[in-house]
């Protein structure tokens, strides 16, 4: 691994090492660009991951103080934990389930296709599916996504068998074990999935794609990557021309460091990325860096989410095998006859006993609750995830009354469900319950949203600088050597799990950065 001098002004500094940052780092390093990655979390490995829900949560989750407001249920159930994302090398690619779905064509044109939805700030992306297709293909190949590039699908587990039986009886057609960045057979130097059932806790088999043991070591092997774990960035600095010039961070020993930079790319996930831009306000950028539009932190999206768990008369043992073992795609289309715009996916999900107790019905108690735990081995579960409406009032702001351990204001996450989100959730819950009834469920339960795993939109890309933060390459309109490299740049959310699209955009962004650096534009 390389080690670059803190005064080396020729390096690209990437903040964050997850799907966006980790991928971008490797793509740049492969092209000979010198990269410093500053990652707030520590470095784990498949060997150090633990098959233990709470212990793993303590090992991987981002637990710095955060606050919540708004009418969303997460603010009531988990007021200090708006998001379930990670602070570790590899970011949330250590924790993700692996679902890798392309956006649909119409989802890049949400404003045009869905129309002017009251109370929403819909906008078309400044790019199309056709623009992204070659990059989607590269991302799928890189990640080894099943059912693409001749990678076979994964074998379905018991939880999938229940979903499949119910869904097909109900008439759903597009039901299978998904497009997963989990090796169904050995590939790219990694082994096949051994069905541990602990996808969320870091894959100890290394079968699930994570930048931790794919992109980052490949980048390190080029000699162009200087990866610095436990480096918490507190500020991005600029020169008197208004160009990003350095990044200030606190290292693992608590010492403040300053790394000079030719280009700065922010990939801290959609809460920390806008927070960092807001924390970097200066006399030149009074409202925060790259925020002339006032859109930094706004349009926060977290996907319409919900779950259904159902009890059956016979054994399911959903905990065995991949957490997200299969999908029903039929409801992901846009069909306003259902009473809402956009669509949703139905994906199996399983929790162990400790997390079932915590997430089945937060705040719930009594015999109605305990019945589900008593029947734990006879439960099947699914997650419902769909497109939510961007709103400029759903936003990340700095909360001056709560400070992190470095004395900086904590982020507050404000969210109110749009009525479209509520209508979609109702529909999804009903269909999820019908799937399980069709498979013979004794009863089923509508589980409310978990803390957000898909955090999006808070530095959205758009065609012009008035109403967006960055362009179609994630390059900020205001500061041409500052890039948004994570899900923050999403203009709208789509129905699909976002990681594949984040990786795709990172590959495309790397190409753009190399071109601009070669042309000395940045």
């Amino acid at each position: 691994m390389a080690r670059f001098d803190s005064n080396d002004e020729s390096v690209v500094v990437i903040i964050g090492s997850g799907a966006g940052g980790g991928t971008l780092a490797n793509e740049l390093c492969q092209q000979g660009v010198k990269v410093v990655v500053l990652e707030a979390g520590a470095r784990q490995s498949p060997a150090s991951f633990v098959n233990d829900e709470w212990k793993s949560f303590g090992q991987l989750a981002w637990l710095d103080p955060r606050t919540t407001s708004g009418t969303w249920r997460v603010a009531k159930d988990f007021p200090g934990l708006p998001a379930w994302i990670c602070k570790t090398v590899g970011g949330s690619t250590t924790h993700w389930a692996g679902a890798s779905l392309r956006f649909q064509e119409h989802e890049f044109k949400a404003r045009t296709v869905y129309g002017d939805i009251k109370g929403a700030t819909l906008m078309d992306w400044p790019l199309t599916l056709a623009d992204l297709e070659p990059y989607y293909a590269r991302a799928e190949d890189k990640m080894g996504v099943t059912r693409t590039h001749r990678v076979m699908g994964l074998p379905g587990n018991n939880n999938f068998k229940v979903m499949y039986a119910g869904a097909t009886r109900l008439g759903y057609k597009d039901v299978h074990t998904g497009n997963m960045a989990i090796n169904s057979q050995p590939r790219d130097g990694r082994g096949q999935c051994i069905q541990t059932g602990f996808c969320f806790q870091g894959c100890k088999a290394g079968a699930k794609w994570s930048t931790l043991y794919t992109e980052l070591p490949k980048a390190e092997a080029t000699g162009n990557l200087d990866l610095r774990p436990e480096s918490h960035v507190t500020r991005i600095e600029h020169n008197d021309k208004g160009r990003a010039s350095a990044v200030v961070y606190v290292d693992k020993d608590g010492r403040q460091q300053r790394q000079k930079a030719r280009v700065v790319c922010v990939a801290g996930n959609a809460i920390e990325t806008p927070r960092l831009l807001l924390l970097s306000a200066s006399s030149l950028f009074k409202d925060g860096l790259a925020n002339s539009s006032g859109q930094v932190g706004r349009n926060y999206m977290r996907h319409m989410t919900a779950s259904v768990y159902a009890i059956f008369n016979q054994q399911v043992n959903m905990y065995r095998g991949t957490t997200m073992a299969g999908i029903v795609k039929d409801e992901s289309r846009n069909d306003t006859r259902r009473g809402f715009v956009g669509g949703y996916e139905m994906e199996t999900l399983a929790l162990g006993v400790p997390f079932m107790a915590a997430f089945l019905n937060p705040g719930g108690w009594g015999a109605g609750f305990t019945e589900y735990l008593d029947n734990y081995t006879r439960i099947a579960g699914m997650w419902l995830v769909g497109e939510d409406m961007p709103r400029d009032t759903n936003r990340i702001t700095l909360n001056p009354s709560v400070k992190d351990k470095w004395g900086n204001p904590a982020p507050n996450v404000h969210f109110d469900d749009h009525e479209n989100d509520i209508a979609m959730r109702e529909h999804a819950w009903r269909q999820g319950q019908r799937v399980y009834e069709a498979a013979g469920a004794v009863k089923s339960f509508r589980t409310p949203p978990y803390p957000s795993t898909h955090n999006l939109g808070t530095c959205r890309m758009g065609a012009n600088a008035r109403d967006s933060v960055c362009n179609g390459y994630g390059q900020t309109h205001d500061v041409d050597n500052l890039f948004i490299s994570d899900g923050s740049q999403f203009t709208t959310g789509g129905a699909e799990n976002p990681t594949l699209t984040i990786v795709t955009l990172a590959i495309r962004q790397a190409e753009h950065i190399v071109k601009q650096m070669s042309a000395r534009a940045i």
Partner: protein, 206 residues
């Protein structure tokens, strides 16, 4: 009557997560046991695990005892009874509900003592002696109070994150050290029709 020391283990107390970092093995058998001669705390809870239960084989002894540092025996018994009202599991032994008391004992403050006293008072002196319907009614009456929230919140982690609960609910916990479920039944469900090969391709066998 053997009383097995776990609290005074030379390896230090099993942490909240029950993980022993030294050998990398995850142990969750957190039976709240204390060595009799060490007892000098504020109270003690004692119970037995039915020798016929699945847990008897897991436990080093069918008798358990929990030494309390701040709560009295009577307060501990009230909290155990409240835990059973909040999360009634017929098959979970008292030893698991004692873990709830253990968790609360470690952070007992004036509000906890006050809450217990108020609950006992609302039952005419002893919550434990009330009948099931009365207990449920009394707990329902304090739903949403800080005391209720403290006890309920502790239940979620104390009752459901230990080996006894795992055994009762049929959750085996860690699987990687056993090779995952690839050869241990991840797709052994037979009571529904099998998915098509397109939907669920066969397992890759090399």
């Amino acid at each position: 009557m053997p009383v097995i020391p776990i609290a005074a283990s030379p390896h230090g107390p099993a942490g909240a997560t029950g993980c022993h970092d030294d050998d990398g093995r995850i142990r969750r058998l957190e039976l709240p046991l204390a060595r009799r001669e060490f007892l000098k705390g504020s109270g003690i809870l004692i119970g037995t695990i039915s020798s016929g239960s699945v847990l008897a084989a897991l436990a080093p002894s069918t008798v358990w005892a929990l030494e309390l540092k701040q709560l009295s025996t009577s307060e501990g018994q009230t909290l155990m009874a409240m835990g059973r009202v909040l999360y009634p599991h017929r098959k979970l032994p008292d030893a698991v509900y004692a873990l709830l008391v253990k968790g609360l004992d470690a952070k007992a403050d004036a509000a906890l003592h006050d809450g217990i006293r108020a609950l006992d008072r609302s039952a005419g002196g002893s919550f434990v002696k009330g009948d099931a319907a009365t207990r449920l009614k009394l707990v329902k009456a304090i739903e949403g109070t800080p005391f209720f929230n403290t006890v309920r919140g502790q239940c979620v982690t104390s009752l459901y994150d230990n080996d006894m609960a795992f055994a009762v609910f049929g959750y085996p916990g860690a699987s990687f050290d056993k090779g995952g479920y690839i050869t241990r039944g991840f797709q052994d469900l037979k009571w529904l029709p099998a998915p098509s090969k397109q939907a669920s391709p066969p397992l890759y066998l090399g």
